[in-house]
Symmetry: C2
Subunit: 399 residues, 2 copies
């Protein structure tokens, strides 16, 4: 089939497309209530959108006390591809134009294998989703990578955990391979956009989104827009020092947050606790049938749930450290919401409680007074939804 070629011709059309994306199918009359355009003007723009095929008629709406209005919706055959490349696994999902996830596949993969190998995999996963009948092609794709990105060009810059990716033209290469427009961003920013679009951060304009996975990063949303910093490395909080002369970190410094608490650090700590005998539950896991050589955050969570004191202590200490950093960020940034997400959120309420305690104790009342600190509600789909949102924001803007 023919893919989306048209783009909104002006700001009004872009506005309408976003309303339809965020609010789903809608009657012309309801749209009119939201956009402050004369009925005539609105009709003209809607007609033009219908002509381009970006939106389609969708039956009649319920009456609001008079003549029934015609519904319109975004073309149901539009498809976005959301790709979330993590340090150790890849998520790929297909969404419709309303950013609803129609299909989602996940596969373990080491990002250090380099862009060529990873994208081969990604393309295979996308092909699989296509083959299962969810899409005949893609109208756009959003890609998240675990490192800083020069956003306008869509190129990773000096990513610490992605050797071989520095300067690789991700956007251009994938755009070629997929045959559709592509946008690239940091995975943490995409998680923030995901939670903003469909998760806990709906209707919040200024918030922080902390992702604790293999590393630790923070998405910053200012006035509803992601803030990326001067060189695209904003939110890189994993290397903030939490302990003078603390543990050595891969970055060359000592005492970085990431060295003390993150997926990687937690795994090491858990193994040490198991081997030293301090944690009977974790030790049991290591001894158990089918142990694959690595403990994970989920294992620690299980041990803690079973009442293992050492595991609980690991979580609590990590939460304290993270909370200490977040407290500083809260004082500085005064957000309206803090979202915690990423692989380590399996640690759940114990972690959240430790973080909250620390933040509420260390930040000033004015900043924390009405500050919710919550877990993300989308889990692993936050990233891919954010990716789809990224490309849809791009496509649903005036050319």
């Amino acid at each position: 089939m023919r893919r989306m070629t048209a783009r909104p011709a002006n700001a009004h059309q872009a506005r309408l497309l976003r309303l339809l994306r965020d609010g789903g199918p809608n009657s012309r009359a309801q749209l009119g209530d939201q956009v402050d355009l004369s009925r005539s003007k609105l009709a003209v723009e809607v007609d033009r959108l219908l002509e381009t095929g970006l939106v389609v008629a969708d039956g009649l709406a319920a009456s609001r006390g008079g003549r029934r209005s015609h519904n319109i919706r975004l073309a149901p055959e539009l498809r976005f591809l959301g790709v979330d490349i993590g340090a150790t696994s890849v998520d790929v999902a297909v969404t419709n134009a309303e950013l609803e996830v129609l299909g989602h596949v996940n596969q373990p993969m080491d990002v250090r294998e380099g862009p060529v190998a990873v994208f081969e995999q990604v393309l295979a996963m996308a092909a699989k989703l296509k083959a299962s009948g969810l899409a005949e092609g893609f109208d756009g794709a959003g890609i998240g990578v675990p490192g800083p990105v020069r956003f306008p060009e869509g190129v990773p810059v000096a990513p610490p955990i992605m050797p071989g990716w520095d300067g690789f033209p991700v956007r251009e290469a994938l755009s070629q391979d997929l045959g559709c427009p592509v946008m690239v961003d940091n995975d943490v920013n995409l998680m923030a956009m995901g939670e903003q679009h469909a998760g806990v951060a709906r209707s919040v304009h200024d918030f922080l989104c902390i992702k604790i996975g293999t590393g630790i990063g923070c998405g910053i949303v200012v006035g509803g827009e992601v803030y990326r910093g001067t060189t695209g490395s904003a939110g890189d909080i994993g290397h903030i020092q939490v302990e003078p002369d603390g543990r050595p970190c891969a970055c060359g410094n000592r005492g970085c947050l990431e060295a003390h608490f993150s997926g990687a650090a937690l795994a090491r700590d858990a193994e040490e606790a198991a081997n030293s005998g301090r944690s009977p539950e974790l030790a049991a896991l290591v001894e158990a049938e089918g142990f694959d050589g690595r403990l994970t955050a989920a294992d620690v969570a299980a041990a803690a749930a079973a009442g293992d004191a050492a595991a609980l202590e690991l979580i609590r200490e990590g939460g304290n450290r993270t909370g200490q950093v977040i407290a500083g960020l809260v004082s500085f940034f005064n957000p309206g919401l803090v979202v915690i997400g990423g692989g380590v959120t399996g640690l759940g309420h114990t972690l959240l409680a430790a973080i909250r305690t620390q933040v509420y104790r260390q930040s000033l009342p004015l900043a924390t007074g009405n500050l919710p600190i919550v877990l993300g509600e989308l889990g692993p789909t936050a990233g891919v939804i954010g990716a789809a949102r990224l490309i849809s924001d791009h496509l649903f803007s005036p050319a």
Copy 2:
């Protein structure tokens, strides 16, 4: 005389007024190069501005190879009042519409005397400036206060060092007293705006402005606009913890940056160094004729300049602590510039060197790679220029 009553009628006029404010007198032709309007449209808008009296003709420009163009400029009799209320002193200045400081007075004053007493003083200072012939009235006033402000209403909220100011309707009261529009903001934000308008931060879009005075605060500029946070307390970095179980702070916690380094903390440390005999230079100052009972940052600077080891150490340690916090902020925010200002900048290069060392060591190369860390170049006028800029931004925007 009649004060400014007109306001720009549309975005084009607002744009032109700001260009004239920031670029000074300008020919119609030059303006045309900057605004992307047809000659006819430009002429219409300029004529309307001339009619309102906001701008006036200003002779002929130099020829650019053909017919000479007519110059226009902002009405030379327009006056803005810039007020910077610090913890221990007040600055009041008059500027013209181009935000050039025409007169500036400073007076020691304790902000804790409360809003009524302080504004009596401020009005007296403004009257003095008027009496000296610099202004016949004010077309607008910007006010900076040393605490968080609910910006839209211009009301201080829960300011720690300003008892009695909480909820005082500063904007409304002063607007009444001065008979002109008033805007209120945090003093640190105004310093940032000042340095952005006329100081080191010209042409930088994302930067931080650290003000080290009696307390410590940070102005945050995102995309050329001051970011104030959800409750107006963004940038309140004085209470970020730099030392677990460190010194007790007025806020009730321990180890806050402000408790370890700030104008107030430095004075205490200096006195202690003098009394304990560790610092001969400072001891000499205390013994000297005319000593008023308090050492200041300037005294420490003088002692350090004279080679006093203890004074140097105080500065260095303060710089390290501040640098530690800034390093975290740089990782998080990835600014294009960091400006250091406030009363303590008398400590000059020694302080700056200590901060730089710490930041460059602790932050990642990508964030620090091309990051200038510099002293503000406006000193005490940054605040009042920022205040004038605040109100001019307000007045030079479409009604």
